[in-house]
């Protein structure tokens, strides 16, 4: 009879889970506390397959975009360095080296919390026990196990019995997984595209696994049926966008973490227990019936064919100079620029990258036009030219005579990698004209592709260095503080600030500083809006917003208080100048550290430039013109603080400040005839479904005597454009929001719009077959949804100025489209008139 060897190699006994590195030198169990900043400085040396590697005890936590997670002070969040991280340090020196790491992984992704469930990254660890070299009794996961001094790690590359043990385990585990779950995607044409990138299939090649070994009939009896309602489901085609084949799921928990931790959508979790455990949506309902927003993060994260995409509408290349050719995903996947972008993502939405061959002299884009793409420069030379509207030419006489405006110029080549990324990332209009100097090949990429590229550390670096310099210019140039400076002064200021400024991103609701705190930094708003609230005796007495180009935080830095409101500008400026002049080296002593006079928080996603207090003081000493302007701004603000204005508070509360094109009805003139709604329907038709499809509702909140209708406001920083999985929503010619036809109807934009201005309507051109809930077994045809919103009746950008039918149709001149500040001005003006009259 066959006999199975007991006690493999006599090494391993049943014991508790203590492990060799649980205790310190005194034998005390070491508590695993959250790592601290100090752990970045502590070095740990270990061996991996005999090679020594020294790593810090902790590394900064990264988010899904590969950015280090930072708080407002710029502090990163440390996490313990793992054996896998150490292996990355040892083996990865340039792009593409990742394949050399001798530790295979399926469940682990760098931006996710390690769960160590697939057990493919297991290694044999040696350490010390009672002063003698000793082996850990079982193989441990490298993705999760922290590094320790003196640790010896043996991977599947190691010679001898240690490596053999790892190789065997990894091979058998892969065989078990592949035997049960390696399957083609359910839709045949997509299966063909996806099969070369199935990570489980690639793992079988890497580990030499024989897929059929555990597929024997005698090993393949069905598992017990799970209790009703729990456990793995079968094939789920209920989502309009994705197919879930639960039988191909290896339970790596990547989709769970993608949905819950990365996207915070909180839809996917494990269901059931044991062999029949699976992933489930909400209460384990079909994906299409769940609260899923179809962002696609789970599909892109899934290493197998368990979550795959359904065919989506092809993206139309935007009209633009140069011969356009959609680059197929297969070509992108071979290009080093896209190495590391999940293949499923590129295969899903073919057409997001367009090749343009341009001849010298052609224009790629113009300043002030909307743009939601970026240009990767593959070859040739581009000229970037910005009209500096706010800058006065130093040779004033000449400019006055010939009407020449100063320009900012830069030449870009393939070495600069990218152009046009600012508009793409920020949703703001193009900030420069881009023309071709030498015949060029440009790869035009959509915003969601750029987002994906930004997740790759090496490529993100390239973007960020380019973005940072150009972004700073834009911040300063759009700021009132730096407007109308002589060009030489402006240049000197920019050079000064560039060296000292840091950029930060802030999430909505986050507080930058509170009233009464010590003032340490000056902030310049690059993107987004800040809420400035002034409190007196526990009541908020004044609310302001500060948008792009604004500077805030200067009052505290200048150590001004409400008492200074009565002083004159020259008086304060002179005192300041005297203090700075007499300060000598240590500027910070010249002016006491002031307190914040207001609480500032982010209203929406903010991008800020930040200048520290010392650098700020040095700046106003060097540049008296800035000092004077800052004093003016500060005193004006402080004077305003003394009175509260409920209208402004209401303005902020309704989010009107970010409106660029708000449909308002003057209720003094409006007769409720609804011609505006009818005009909208006339323009956009009733489509083929007989439903009147309007993009406005003559209903909404009042602001003063105006009704703010429910219709797209074309926000300055559109909430709706955040996260569109297929990048079908962007700005049109008039900076209005346009939703392209390849929209998959996921509804994410509608959910993101805080004002309810995006409507989900049936898409005339797309319908699909779905299971009929009434008659099991049969299917029914339903129209796929599409997001629709006000496009100012000019989606294609054919008109010079938009003529929205809601406004045009109004017989009483009650309807108009205005910006937020215009509306505020009107309301305040009318109030003043009423007060007088």
């Amino acid at each position: 009879m066959a006999v199975i060897q007991e006690r493999p190699e006599g090494l391993f006994v049943r014991d508790d889970d203590e492990g060799l590195f649980s205790r310190d030198v005194n034998g005390q169990l070491v508590r695993l506390d959250a790592p601290t900043q100090a752990d970045y400085e502590k070095l740990v040396t270990l061996q991996i397959d005999g090679q020594e590697v020294t790593v810090p005890l902790a590394e900064p936590l990264k988010d899904a975009n590969g950015n280090a997670v930072q708080d407002l002070e710029g502090r990163t969040t440390p996490r313990y360095t793992t054996i896998y991280d150490a292996a990355v340090k040892l083996y990865v020196h340039q792009e593409g080296d990742e394949a050399k790491i001798p530790i295979p992984t399926l469940c682990h992704l760098p931006h996710m919390k390690p769960v160590a469930v697939c057990r493919l990254c297991v290694v044999q660890i040696y350490g010390q026990k009672r002063g003698k070299r000793a082996a850990e009794r079982k193989l441990l996961p490298a993705c999760q196990h922290p590094v320790k001094n003196g640790m010896e790690v043996f991977t599947m590359n190691a010679p001898g019995p240690d490596g053999e043990r790892v190789r065997q385990s990894v091979k058998v585990v892969t065989e078990l997984l592949a035997g049960d779950h390696l399957k083609p995607a359910p839709v045949p044409e997509i299966a063909r595209e996806l099969s070369p990138y199935n990570e489980l299939a690639l793992m079988t090649e890497r580990t030499g696994a024989v897929v059929s070994r555990f597929q024997l009939d005698v090993l393949s009896r069905p598992a017990p049926t799970p209790p009703a309602g729990a456990g793995r489901r079968g094939l789920d085609a209920s989502s309009p966008v994705f197919t879930v084949d639960h039988s191909a799921c290896i339970l790596c928990d990547r989709c769970v973490r993608a949905c819950d931790d990365v996207m915070h959508n909180d839809v996917i979790g494990r269901t059931g227990k044991g062999n029949t455990a699976g992933i489930g949506f909400d209460l384990n309902v079909p994906m299409g019936e769940s609260t899923c927003v179809q962002c696609g993060e789970c599909m892109v994260s899934c290493p197998t064919s368990a979550i795959t995409f359904k065919p989506v509408a092809k993206v139309k290349p935007l009209r633009r100079a140069g011969r356009a050719e959609i680059i197929p995903a297969t070509e992108l996947l071979r290009d080093p620029i896209f190495a590391g972008v999940p293949p499923k993502f590129l295969l899903w939405q073919q057409g997001l990258v367009v090749r343009r061959q341009l001849r010298a002299g052609q224009t790629l884009c113009r300043q002030h036009e909307p743009g939601n793409t970026a240009f990767i420069i593959k070859s040739g030379k581009l000229l970037v030219e910005t009209v500096l509207t706010g800058v006065r030419a130093s040779s004033g006489l000449w400019s006055g005579m010939f009407g020449r405006t100063p320009r900012f110029r830069a030449e870009l080549t393939a070495a600069d990698f990218v152009a046009g990324e600012m508009a793409c990332l920020s949703g703001s209009p193009r900030s420069a004209d881009v023309t071709v100097l030498e015949n060029a090949e440009i790869w035009e990429v959509r915003r969601n592709v750029l987002d994906r590229l930004m997740r790759l550390p090496s490529r993100r670096l390239k973007f960020e260095s380019a973005y940072r310099d150009r972004s700073l210019d834009l911040v300063l140039r759009s700021s009132e503080l730096f407007a109308n400076l002589a060009e030489d002064d402006y240049k000197r200021i920019v050079d000064y600030v560039r060296e000292r400024v840091s950029f930060l991103r802030v999430s909505p609701g986050q507080v930058l500083f509170r009233q009464g705190e010590l003032a340490r930094d000056l902030y310049l708003v690059r993107l987004g809006h800040v809420r400035v609230g002034v409190q007196r005796y526990e009541n908020e007495v004044r609310v302001l917003t500060r948008g792009p180009g604004a500077i805030f935080g200067e009052i505290g830095l200048l150590a001004l208080t409400a008492k200074d409101a009565g002083k004159s500008v020259p008086q304060v400026d002179a005192a300041l100048a005297a203090a700075l002049a007499g300060a000598g080296e240590d500027l910070t002593r010249a002016i006491p550290t002031g307190a914040r006079t207001a609480t500032c928080s982010a209203l929406n996603y903010l991008e800020l430039a930040r200048l520290g207090r010392t650098d700020f003081l040095a700046m106003i000493r060097h540049f008296p013109v800035l000092r004077r302007r800052l004093v003016e701004q500060s005193l004006a603000t402080l004077r305003g603080n003394t009175e509260s204005d409920p209208v402004v508070a209401e303005y902020v509360e309704q989010g009107l400040y970010e409106g660029r094109s708000i449909l308002v009805l003057d209720m003094d003139l409006c007769t409720r005839c609804d011609e505006c709604t009818k005009g909208c329907i006339r323009e956009h038709g009733t489509e083929s479904h007989g439903l009147p499809i309007t993009r406005l509702l003559r209903d909404g909140r009042r602001f003063g005597d105006f009704l703010v209708a429910t219709s797209c406001r074309s926000c300055t920083d559109p909430h709706c454009m955040t996260g569109c999985p297929v990048d079908s929503i962007h700005r049109g010619k008039h900076l209005q929001i346009v939703i392209e036809d390849h929209c998959i109807g996921c509804g994410l934009c509608a959910e993101n719009c805080p004002y309810g201005n995006i409507f989900m309507v049936p898409n005339r051109r797309k319908s699909m077959q779905v299971p009929d809930p009434e008659t099991p077994g049969s299917t029914m045809r339903i129209a796929q949804l599409k997001a629709a919103t006000c496009d100012l009746c000019d989606a294609e950008g054919n008109r010079a100025t938009p003529e929205p039918q809601c406004v045009v149709s109004c017989p009483h001149e009650a309807a108009s489209r205005v910006t937020g500040p215009q509306l505020l001005e009107r309301v305040i003006k009318r109030r003043t008139e009423q007060f007088r009259g």
């Binding site: 005698v218 309602g229 290896i250 455990a277």
Partner: protein
């Protein structure tokens, strides 16, 4: 804190199952996402996701119950009408009265257990319940399951118990008195301040404002073992720990970790927290999950001596400076849950525990946590996960629970029995407990014995007593049924595999056994030829270290199962494989998939679908390779146990295995296919 599991229990109580509308409403009210509710609810067998039939009959299918014919009963009882569901269930902890069955009635507070009932009787019982006529259960309390002498309770016939706790408190209070005297002599603090010191010394958190020197004095008293004059003053807990150390008390859950080490580790972690952290909470958790087939000793302790468990918890809290105690009990033990709750109330009234424990001097709440079910919850980190509102999936360790346990705070998790011995040891002295062992081993231990013995039950025995005495002794199991010979012995439920009646060189005994020190010592004690090639397993002494040295599976748990000649060990092994497959949590790949593969192989084997040639040349090497990978790469002990039953069946009961091979050398017809869904 825990929110989800209590809410699920409430909803199930209200509707009889987890009504989706109720879950959605809860999710909306609390903001807990739906998936979080489902992921927890679908993991634990206690929760019903769909409306159950009015009556559900569950029959245990493991070890002793399987031997008693529960498989046939399950088949016979299928189709009891549309209002009764009949299901197989994992061990119910009543192996001494096999077969065990449980009746769940919608709307009832708990389930009802029926033991040693025939299929006809069970049919009658479910019928009565269905008609709304309650049938009294076969209560544990009515059954004497521990016939042998027991010494664990030092209070038998001696008053109201908690003497050990009183002694410990007196020790502490005396040390405080000495400290106060010392401080008074130094004249640093006034009389009122010394009173504050007295209170502060025993409180885990001092919140009132006080002089810096006084706060420091209290702080040092609490955390420094050598405060001013060594253990005479603040080292009083050292005195208690030394007793435990002298007793050589080990974890009774099976791993055998010295209790002193765990207690010290937790106390050190608490003291470190006192120095560095705001959150100085720490927890004592009694692992009363006891779901390993063949194991039911804690059932008796929790039912009949809950005062020992409660006192053990409070003593552990006192020594480790923990702030709260939990007794985690499987939901299949309703009487035990009630007994422990009653005892906790009694202890609270006596001032030993609770939110205001007057005698203890500081708050120390103790409560029962009812397990939502599943064998995996007995794995200590899975138990902590279940208590933290998550799926009961084992953690990747280290860090250990002693430092990073419940809510990531220091936590002592030990078996019920480990806590229950503490009063004995602190009353009679550690030396007395250590001396209670025989053949040079230390202490006493409680075993549950089931299977083919005359008197299955719970037996407290001296450590080192031979297996022969336990199985054949008049005081104990009184021999094997029908005078048959011993065929196999399971030393730790299903996870220690099945050992043959004789361990032989090359088949059970360690390599080069004649030079093994443990073997030589055993041989000389038992008068066995040191060069013998085999040993009767009945001659092994019941002691974990001896089994680690000489038994091929190195395990000696609390659940011992005896198999008489005539039992088919291949079938028994296959049943154990199915148990592991059913109870695997599914977290890590090797166990989730491997357990199913091995169980499937076992089912194919006993279904007679495998030829001898294929078995020998293809399947055994394959399953051996897979077994190694499962053992090496799984997260927890369950995974490591998965291959053991089949491996021991192949190695020691080759004839039984061969009997199922389709053209094997035995004429025995293949057994009927086992119901996969049982």
């Amino acid at each position: 804190m825990t929110l989800v599991i209590p809410a699920l229990q409430r909803i199930q109580q209200q509707f009889g199952f987890l009504k989706p509308e109720a879950l959605r409403q809860f999710s909306e009210e609390t903001g807990v996402p739906l998936y979080r509710l489902h992921t927890v609810a679908s993991f634990f067998p206690h929760f019903q996701l769909r409306a159950p039939k009015p009556v559900t009959l569950r029959i245990c299918r493991d070890m002793a119950c399987q031997m008693a014919g529960s498989g046939a009963m399950l088949r016979e009882l299928q189709g009891l009408g549309s209002h009764v569901a009949v299901e197989g269930v994992s061990c119910l902890g009543r192996c001494d009265r096999a077969p065990a069955a449980c009746v769940a009635v919608t709307g009832a507070e708990h389930e009802y257990y029926y033991m040693r009932r025939s299929a006809a009787e069970l049919k009658q019982i479910t019928g009565d319940w269905l008609r709304g006529e309650p049938r009294p259960a076969d209560y544990d309390a009515d059954q004497l399951s521990s016939p042998a002498p027991s010494t664990i309770d030092p209070y038998l016939g001696k008053g109201p118990a908690y003497d050990a706790l009183r002694t410990a408190l007196a020790l502490r209070d005396a040390a405080i008195e000495r400290a106060i005297k010392l401080l008074a002599q130094r004249g640093v603090f006034g009389r009122d301040e010394l009173e504050v010191f007295r209170e502060g010394a025993v409180e885990s958190r001092i919140e009132r404002p006080m002089r810096k020197e006084l706060a420091e004095a209290i702080h040092f008293w609490q955390i420094e073992a050598d405060w001013t004059q060594g253990e005479e003053l603040s080292g009083w807990s050292e005195i208690l720990l030394r007793e435990l150390q002298e007793a050589d008390l080990r974890g009774m859950g099976g791993a055998g970790i010295p209790a002193t080490q765990k207690w010290r580790d937790v106390r050190d972690a608490v003291r470190t927290a006192f120095r560095t952290k705001d959150d100085t909470r720490a927890f004592i958790v009694v692992n009363g999950d006891e779901s390993e087939p063949g194991t039911f000793k804690d059932r008796e302790l929790l039912l009949r001596q809950p005062h020992l468990v409660v006192e053990g918890v409070i003593l552990a809290g006192l020594v480790t400076e923990a702030t709260e105690g939990f007794i985690f009990i499987r939901h299949e033990y309703p009487e035990q849950i009630a007994a422990c709750r009653a005892e906790i109330t009694r202890a609270e009234q006596m001032g030993f525990c609770g939110a205001k424990a007057s005698v203890l001097g500081r708050p120390f709440p103790v409560s029962v946590f009812v397990s939502p079910g599943g064998y995996i919850c007995g794995e200590q980190s899975a138990l902590i996960e279940a208590m933290s509102d998550r799926r009961g999936e084992p953690r990747n360790m280290p860090p250990k629970l002693e430092t990073n346990g419940l809510f990531d705070l220091p936590t002592l998790v030990s078996n019920v029995e480990t806590f229950a011995w503490v009063p004995f040891i602190l009353t009679n002295g550690g030396a007395a407990y250590a001396a209670a062992g025989v053949n040079g081993w230390h202490g006493r231990r409680i075993f549950s014995v089931s299977g083919d013995v005359h008197r299955p039950g719970v037996y407290e025995v001296p450590m080192g007593m031979t297996l022969r005495e336990l199985i054949c002794g008049e005081e104990y199991c009184q021999g094997i049924v029908d005078g048959r010979a011993l065929k196999a012995f399971a030393p730790s439920g299903p996870s220690g595999g099945f050992l043959p009646a004789k361990l032989k060189a090359g088949a059970g005994l360690p390599r080069d056994h004649v030079n093994n020190k443990a073997w030589q010592a055993l041989a000389s004690r038992r008068g066995i030829d040191p060069n013998a090639e085999e040993i009767d397993i009945l001659d092994l002494e019941l002691e974990l270290n001896l089994f680690r040295a000489l038994s091929p599976t190195q395990a000696l748990g609390a659940g011992l199962v005896v198999y008489a000649e005539g039992r088919d060990m291949a079938e028994q092994a296959v049943s154990s494989l199915e148990f592991f497959r059913n109870e695997s949590c599914g977290k890590c790949v090797p166990c989730r998939l491997g357990a199913q593969k091995i169980a499937s192989l076992g089912s194919s084997l006993v279904a007679g679908q495998i030829s001898a040639e294929r078995w020998e040349n293809e399947l055994v090497p394959l399953v051996s390779e897979m077994g190694k990978a499962i053992e090496m790469a799984s997260i927890c002990g369950l995974g490591r146990s998965v291959p053991v039953p089949l491996r021991t069946a192949i190695n020691y009961f080759g004839d039984d295995v061969a009997g199922h091979l389709s053209n094997g050398n035995s004429a025995k017809p293949p057994a009927t296919a086992r119901g996969e869904n049982e």
